[in-house]
Symmetry: C2
């Protein structure tokens, strides 16, 4: 296996934390996004959407998309499950992870992509170019604020995003918080005490440094 990723890519970090939690080490190749290496012929051949990360298996199969890479790693390395163990837990982790992605991660990504001058015609991660829409960036920031408030309410009831145990839902949520802080200057507001308690706990895990 070989893992293609970028240090600055929040989607790559979702996989790096997953690997660290499971104690898996994979040969890694850095894709230099600053040099637009994701648009090179070599990288296009393994990822038709020109995005990191990608996991390439020993038989040459390319797996793109974080959820797909996670699924492969969970199936081949079941120890320390991060996608749930029973049918019910698997469904609940899928649901809460998805909500964190739709309401949180995707909102922050949309805000960044519709704001950064260097991404003027790359407002979406796609093989096609799309122009930025400024009112969309504004709405995205509002969504990210609402995500913080909703997640704070959730974490007032349970220790982790999907319930009693750390899971992939926490990975997406913690990467979202750090991305919002650095990408759109939106740290967790002081008043969200439950969210801050959870963030401190999850950030203290060794995997958070990945």
């Amino acid at each position: 296996m070989k893992f293609f990723q970028s240090s600055f890519s929040p989607n790559s970090r979702r996989v790096r934390i997953f690997l660290a939690e499971k104690g898996i080490t994979i040969p890694t190749e850095l894709v230099d996004l600053g040099a637009k290496a994701q648009f090179s012929d070599a990288y296009r051949a393994i990822n038709s959407r020109f995005v990191v990360p990608t996991l390439v298996l020993d038989d040459g199969t390319s797996i793109g998309e974080v959820l797909a890479i996670w699924r492969y790693l969970e199936e081949t390395h079941p120890k320390f499950p991060l996608l749930g163990l029973t049918a019910k837990d698997k469904a609940l982790v899928t649901m809460w992870e998805r909500r964190a992605e739709l309401d949180g991660f995707a909102a922050v990504m949309e805000a960044v992509r519709n704001t950064l001058p260097v991404l003027k015609v790359r407002a979406l991660a796609s093989p096609h170019n799309y122009e930025q829409i400024p009112p969309l960036a504004e709405r995205s920031v509002l969504r990210a604020r609402n995500f913080y408030a909703d997640l704070n309410s959730r974490l007032a009831e349970v220790p982790f995003v999907a319930g009693d145990a750390f899971s992939a839902a926490d990975i997406t949520a913690v990467v979202t918080v750090d991305f919002a802080r650095t990408g759109i200057n939106l740290p967790i507001p002081e008043e969200h005490a439950s969210l801050r308690r959870w963030y401190d706990t999850v950030s203290a895990r060794p995997s958070a440094k990945a």
Copy 2:
């Protein structure tokens, strides 16, 4: 178990086709979206995002989000797998289904939600209200057209979206095509012969009537 859904909801249809392919019958309750039943206290109690569908288990656990409901059904009814059988196939189905959703289904949904007068402040499926953004609706239609072209290229190489076998990726793709036709008047263009061949094949399956 009880399945809460709406006949006109494309996300509900993604689950209905999944159930039909597996030959599973579940007691169903219709949620009257026209009467705004998804905002009722009773429905809020099982789905905090006010969206259909929701699967409620016998122990009272509510599972929202199509991917989470699919995961539960696949784990409890493994016969006729739709999310892949081996680790590699599971990853590939996850990847292709996700691309169909991100590039196709989500684009059509975004076009509809940012256009229909009745959804003026419901431009996103969310517990919060968001105003429509007209330039976003225009971009969504362009994305849907690009999705058709890309999927046509893919289906010139393989019989089904994820490869050799029918899977959940085909379900999302076929629901997207029908939704684009009825929701934004965008049928498959004549020139996309491979896409049309695939659509005819998949639509002829008994599950497509679900």
